[in-house]
């Protein structure tokens, strides 16, 4: 029940953000939807462009990232829709979830391995971080580097992907009893909720940077 409420809250939060954007643009619903979708895709694409270096895996990175995003949405939809309707995931949703999960795991792993280098914090970003933590430095003087927040989201995303994978992996072995299984399922579900929120915030962050 708590989880169901949280999912709905996260979704409502993003809907409010989208509606706010629509109000600010003052366009019709159709036009807004079209523009919004286009912008979303552009934003997702732009995640890939953070790299300043080209290590020769351009096509692979693009494919893997696109596939990961697609699978992520399938995973989220197949799990959240039954949750919102108050049911357990079963039937077609469960099968979709099962089919998308391994592809997502592979894509995310490959993407992280290829991209982790690009998402390292630069010296300027680390300095920004230290300045933020240093009470002697005036906060107004500290300017956030352009991709700092995105990199934070990236590492949080990786951390919770690991949590989500491990929680499911462990539940497949006869290690944990009923209470343990319930805890693992909760860890999995809340990790995914964090992933979804991080993904959403990353998008919002990109919007904010763009606007």
């Amino acid at each position: 029940m708590i989880y169901q409420i949280l999912v709905i809250l996260v979704i409502v939060f993003f809907i409010i953000l989208i509606l706010q954007k629509r109000n600010s643009e003052k366009t019709g619903f159709r036009e807004f939807s079209r523009n919004f979708l286009k912008e979303m895709i552009d934003q997702i694409k732009s995640f890939k462009e953070i790299s300043k270096t080209n290590n020769g895996f351009g096509f692979l990175k693009k494919s893997v990232f696109s596939l990961a995003v697609l699978m992520f949405f399938i995973l989220v939809l197949s799990s959240m829709l039954p949750v919102i309707s108050g049911n357990a995931m079963s039937g077609l949703f469960l099968i979709l979830h099962l089919l998308a999960a391994p592809v997502f795991v592979i894509c995310v792993t490959v993407f992280v391995v290829l991209k982790a280098h690009d998402f390292q914090f630069s010296n300027a970003e680390l300095k920004y971080l230290l300045d933020k933590m240093n009470s002697n430095v005036s906060k107004e003087k500290v300017k956030e580097p352009e991709s700092f927040r995105l990199k934070v989201y990236f590492w949080i995303f990786v951390l919770f992907v690991i949590t989500a994978i491990l929680s499911v992996l462990l539940s497949m072995y006869p290690i944990f009893g009923t209470n343990g299984q319930i805890t693992l399922l909760d860890i999995h579900r809340y990790s995914v909720l964090v992933l979804l929120s991080v993904f959403g915030f990353a998008l919002v962050n990109k919007f904010a940077q763009k606007n």
């Binding site: 357990a88 391994p102 792993t109 914090f121 006869p174 343990g180 299984q181």
Partner: protein, 635 residues
């Protein structure tokens, strides 16, 4: 002479007191008898009591004729009979009692009419009331009372129809037979009780079963004007009047008899009506089967199925509307895990807490405990079951053929109204009916037996009690004959989930019909040990393409020779999509790969986090030290 009346005030007061005392005593005695409220002693009171006949007279051995004792009068002297008769075993005829989930029905079966019809006095979905097939309450008791402990319509004068009034007078009521359950005497013969019920000796059956009396004769053979005291002037030849003889050595000089009464009903007493025999060609001997694991651990049926004076025995399932906290604590979950809002009773009687290691929690939402732990394990070819209630097993003259009707299929997995899957037994109803405005109304058994018997009776298979083999031509012939007997609608034969009828050109047709669906009822026993539960061998016990749990075909058991009757899929009863279930099971072929993949990927991701974490940490330390350097040099 004028009587010397006491008109003094103390005299009047004492009279008022006396009257009040008598009234209170009478009303108290009516509600609370000596045996109604236990004083807390766990010892069993010795029952050396007088036998009282149905006319409330004490039975003396020198009386003529000797009457059977009445449990209502004998046991009812100390225990509130009217309270007891509200109990679950005795209240089926009370329409005010909630029916609860489907239970095992009584099954009218007759190979000569190729019929097996689930019957119940309760409003169980898919079962018919006896009256719907033209069976009077008297016939119902005479046929099925053999394995009833009495009470219900057999003990209710309001349930006796006027047409059967004289038969009831001859046979007497089928009172609650307290001894059916509570008599610990080893010579108590419940099969003898059944035999006398079949002979319509309702009044005599309890006495006949007791270990200290014998009954001869048959009320069934007595004419309607037979009087139990005066007999009848017109007894049919070779008919023997019902008569009792008691073992005189069992009576003391006060004409009292010792009853070996036990509060804790022995399992064998329950088994007389609740035995099952699995028909399995690989396991033909009794010793090939194990009993319920609880009984083997030293428990008894009544350790879980308990009741108080009201005898409203717990049925043991969580959704029973009668259940309160204490009753819920006697369900599988209540005893082994505790209920959601009460765990203080978990583990009672030493119930171990199950670990269920590696079983995803969704299983406990979608499956009942019994799905994995109870009944026979599902197999590709589902098994057949004989039960006491359906086949009269345990009776003196029972047909021991394995294929005798009715045919009960086990186990099938059915989704209940709460969306939980549980193991069930299944019966394909087969009967003759009229179809009017797409509604099926079963024909009265006397009517269709009259038509079917001359046509079906000569078929060879009947000696076994099994289905006769009905060819299309035979079926058409019966339907044609039945049509002439009915005034409204079309004559149909209901079987295998379909209705069979003759079209306008007299061609035999069939179609599915909602009312032809199988009758199913949940099972809970025998409980298998955890080591034999489904899932002990891994997910593939259920989640594989060859798993009978999902994919066993439920054969359409019928007398019909017709080909092309597609078996029912288990997924249909589970309310699941067959293709989805196949796909899901198929995915388990790749489950080991998925595990390896997830293990490798999570290992790589953790490695990335660690490597870049260390790198980041080292750079932070460098940045901090540079910052400190800058600060110290004053730059």
């Amino acid at each position: 002479m004028q009587k010397n009346k006491d008109r003094s005030i103390p005299g009047k007061i004492s009279k008022i007191f006396l009257l009040t005392f008598i009234l209170l005593s009478v009303s108290y005695a009516k509600d609370n008898k000596i045996g109604d409220n236990p004083d807390g002693s766990r010892a069993i009171p010795v029952h050396v009591i007088k036998l009282i006949d149905p006319d409330s007279s004490v039975i003396w051995l020198d009386e003529t004729p000797l009457m059977p004792f009445s449990t209502e009068k004998t046991c009812g002297a100390c225990h509130s009979y009217q309270t007891v008769r509200k109990g679950w075993h005795f209240n089926a005829g009370d329409s005010g009692v909630a029916a609860g989930r489907n239970g095992q029905p009584w099954i009218y079966s007759d190979p000569y009419s190729a019929s097996q019809i689930p019957l119940s006095m309760r409003d169980w979905q898919g079962a018919f009331k006896p009256a719907q097939i033209g069976m009077s309450n008297f016939d119902y008791i005479a046929r099925f009372g053999r394995q009833m402990p009495g009470g219900s319509v057999g003990d209710d004068e309001n349930a006796q129809s006027l047409e059967m009034f004289w038969r009831w007078q001859v046979s007497g009521k089928q009172e609650i037979n307290c001894l059916s359950c509570h008599d610990a005497e080893r010579s108590h013969d419940q099969a003898e009780y059944a035999a006398h019920i079949i002979r319509q000796n309702f009044r005599w059956a309890a006495t006949a079963a007791s270990g200290f009396a014998s009954v001869k004769g048959s009320a069934k053979d007595m004419p309607d004007n037979y009087d139990i005291y005066a007999g009848s002037a017109t007894l049919p030849s070779r008919a023997i009047e019902p008569a009792v003889s008691y073992q005189s050595e069992r009576f003391n000089d006060k004409s009292e008899v010792f009853f070996d009464i036990t509060r804790d009903v022995p399992d064998e007493r329950c088994y007389f009506c609740h035995s099952n025999k699995t028909i399995d060609s690989r396991r033909t001997e009794t010793w090939h089967f194990d009993e319920d694991v609880h009984l083997k651990a030293g428990m008894h049926c009544v350790d879980c199925h308990r009741n108080g004076l009201d005898h409203d025995i717990t049925r043991g399932y969580a959704d029973d509307s009668r259940s309160d906290m204490m009753q819920l604590s006697l369900t599988c979950k209540g005893c082994h895990l505790g209920t959601d809002d009460n765990t203080q009773f978990a583990g009672r009687l030493g119930a171990p807490k199950p670990l269920h290691e590696g079983i995803p929690a969704i299983h406990f939402e979608k499956l009942s405990c019994t799905s994995c732990h109870s009944g026979n394990r599902p197999e590709e070819n589902l098994l057949q079951l004989k039960t006491s209630m359906a086949h009269g097993i345990g009776l003196h003259k029972t047909n021991k053929n394995d294929q005798v009707l009715p045919h009960i299929i086990t186990p099938v997995f059915v989704e209940n109204e709460n969306g939980v899957i549980e193991p069930n037994n299944l019966l394909w109803p087969s009967y003759w009916a009229t179809l009017d405005s797409n509604k099926l109304v079963p024909l009265e058994i006397q009517l269709f037996a009259e038509v079917t018997r001359p046509i079906i009776a000569h078929l060879d298979s009947l000696g076994t009690g099994d289905w006769p083999v009905l060819a299309d031509s035979t079926l058409s012939k019966v339907l044609d004959s039945l049509q002439t007997k009915i005034s409204r609608g079309k004559a149909v034969y209901v079987s295998a989930g379909k209705i069979f009828y003759l079209d306008d050109q007299n061609n035999l047709r069939n179609k599915d019909h909602e009312q032809a669906k199988p009758y199913t009822w949940p099972i809970a026993h025998d409980v298998r040990p955890a080591s034999q539960a489904l899932g002990m061998n891994g997910c593939a016990d259920c989640h594989s393409l060859s798993s009978p749990f999902y994919f066993a075909d439920i054969r359409k058991d019928t007398a019909l020779k017709q080909a092309g009757l597609q078996p029912l899929s288990m997924t249909d009863l589970m309310g699941q999509n067959y293709l989805e279930s196949r796909l899901f099971s198929f995915s388990f072929l790749f489950r080991p790969w998925l595990k390896y993949l997830m293990f490798v990927c999570s290992f790589i991701l953790i490695a990335v986090i660690i490597i870049y974490g260390f790198k980041g940490f080292s750079r932070i330390l460098t940045a901090v030290s540079e910052n400190e350097k800058d600060n110290s040099t004053g730059r």
